[in-house]
């Protein structure tokens, strides 16, 4: 067998390998290798002109395709900053939810892109399909349940209603729940959600009278003095979930299976232990 024949024999193997990849990026890189080998074949077949053009064109082709696929491959995550679960850490993002999503994006072969917005805007972004996944300690409200896809819960949680002992004033809720919606209606407040940092500031200055917060936020708040507040613990058992844009059925199903797998392999527990002790 000559060198030429050896190279020729490699060609279909690489082609089959490349075209059976699940991720397009793998396929493209495989075809890049294919193109280089092909240039070698041309060179050995006494066609140096063709070999040179093949090398040059192969490089350009590879560049275009990689650029295009990276363009496609973004998982847009949107959410409110949440202590322990999903928060900024210097230039980076950290948290329990972030770790889950990071692993999920790696599994799908996508880039993770994260945008922090107030809680009430998450819904809008997901409905308009500008973002794929909503995160940040989400406990779904009824309207979210009907409009968005709700993933499996990954962590049990509970609601805490905090009310000021002195006067009733502004209501702030962080995470939606049935209880929260009732309060919302009674007081008819326009802006029931706020950034978590705003909430902390509000409680510090005593501007906020009533609010419902979920478990992790409550723990975070508890480090501050909640001395002036009555705390009622909601009896209902709830779960933290991810919300998924209604157009992304596939991501939704993949996410559910991913969470299930994390749970069954015990990985989820170790991550939870790392962040929440």
């Amino acid at each position: 067998m000559t060198t030429l024949q050896g190279l020729l024999l490699l060609l279909p193997i690489i082609a089959i390998f490349a075209l059976t990849r699940r991720r397009p990026l793998g396929a493209i890189l495989g075809m890049g290798v294919f193109s280089l080998l092909l240039a070698g074949v041309y060179l050995l077949s006494h066609a140096p002109d063709v070999a040179l053009v093949e090398v040059a064109v192969g490089a350009a082709f590879l560049a275009f395709y990689i650029l295009a696929v990276r363009k496609k491959g973004k998982l847009m995550v949107i959410g409110d900053e949440t202590p322990y679960l999903f928060y900024r850490k210097g230039e980076d993002v950290a948290g329990l939810e972030y770790e889950i999503l990071r692993g999920f994006a790696d599994k799908l072969g996508l880039d993770l892109e994260i945008l922090f917005v107030p809680r009430q805007q998450v819904h809008k972004w997901l409905i308009s399909e500008d973002a794929d996944i909503g995160a940040g300690g989400v406990i779904p409200t009824t309207s979210e349940k009907s409009n968005l896809l709700i993933s499996d819960g990954y962590l049990k949680t509970r609601l805490f209603h905090i009310s000021s002992r002195s006067v009733d004033g502004r209501v702030a809720g962080i995470s939606g729940s049935h209880a929260l919606e009732e309060i919302e209606n009674k007081n008819g407040m326009a802006d029931p959600y706020a950034y978590f940092s705003d909430l902390c500031a509000g409680i510090d200055h005593g501007e906020i009278a009533n609010c419902s917060v979920d478990l992790v936020r409550f723990i975070a708040l508890d480090h501050q003095a909640l001395t002036n507040y009555d705390i009622k613990r909601d009896s209902e058992d709830l779960c933290y979930v991810f919300t998924v844009s209604p157009g992304e059925k596939e991501i939704y199903e993949e996410l559910n299976t991913y969470i299930k797998r994390l749970r069954s392999s015990g990985e989820l527990d170790t991550i939870i232990a790392r962040y929440l002790g």
Binding site: P48, D49, V55, A56, F64, A68, I114, F116
Partner: protein, 242 residues
């Protein structure tokens, strides 16, 4: 479940059809011989007719220049089409600024910086010696274009793109295209038929030989270089950053 069942039927048929194709074509290809001496006339007369030592270049840019013009037009059309249609895709940069962008790519800048000039030199060499040795306008131009990619990787796509003064580049590209087409139509002015070389042939083997092949290589090289640059920049701009 029904969908999956139907899919397997489709796949089975597809595989059978493809295998039949394979068998049919391989079977009949096994009988195919080769006419001895095909293309001999080019080897015999090529150097004398065109003054170029590289017979492939002689055919590409002299005997069958008409095909090459089409090829250049196809390439120009690809550049035009990519630019026109990529405008349909939102340029997402404004939103990316407010977002916290996380990308996995960590690319060695030094390698890009070192490689770029070397590749550029090779590209130029290929263009200039296209009639003497393997190479020519297209491969040289495309290599020069990949230098842009290397720079984009090394220094960030935005910085490379900023150099791209769109008006000037557009004009330059158009001028290259027009001159490639018009050059071939100038022949009658020199008493030659259309698409026939009217430059002196020179002594074969020298740099200045081969009639207009050198000039065509330079024009095509320039056109392809700019074309690949523009396409690359379009792809970079409409996805974010390298």
């Amino acid at each position: 479940m029904i969908v999956r069942k139907r899919l397997t039927v489709q796949n089975t048929i597809a595989v059978i059809v493809a295998l039949i194709f394979l068998v049919v074509v391989l079977f009949s290809f096994s009988f195919i011989g080769r006419r001895p001496g095909a293309g001999e006339q080019f080897i015999r007369q090529g150097v004398e007719d065109t003054g170029a030592v590289n017979i492939v270049a002689a055919i590409y840019l002299n005997y069958r220049l008409f095909d090459t013009i089409f090829e250049i037009l196809v390439f120009a059309l690809a550049v035009i089409g990519v630019r026109f249609h990529l405008h349909a895709i939102k340029d997402k940069r404004p939103r990316l600024k407010e977002a916290l962008f996380i990308s996995e790519s960590h690319i060695v800048r030094v390698a890009g910086d070192l490689l770029a000039p070397v590749v550029a030199l090779i590209g130029l060499f290929l263009i200039v010696t296209g009639h003497l040795a393997p190479g020519g306008g297209f491969s040289g131009g495309a290599l020069l274009g990949t230098v842009i990619l290397l720079l984009a990787v090394a220094r960030g796509g935005e910085r490379v793109g900023r150099r791209l003064n769109e008006d000037v580049v557009d004009r330059l590209e158009q001028i290259f295209l027009v001159s490639i087409i018009a050059l071939s139509a100038l022949s009658p002015l020199f008493g030659r038929p259309f698409f026939a070389n009217f430059f002196p042939l020179g002594e074969p083997g020298r740099l200045l030989s081969g009639g207009w092949i050198l000039l065509y290589n330079l024009l095509i090289g320039g056109k392809v270089f700019i074309g690949i640059w523009v396409m690359m920049y379009c792809f970079i701009r409409h996805r974010g950053d390298v």
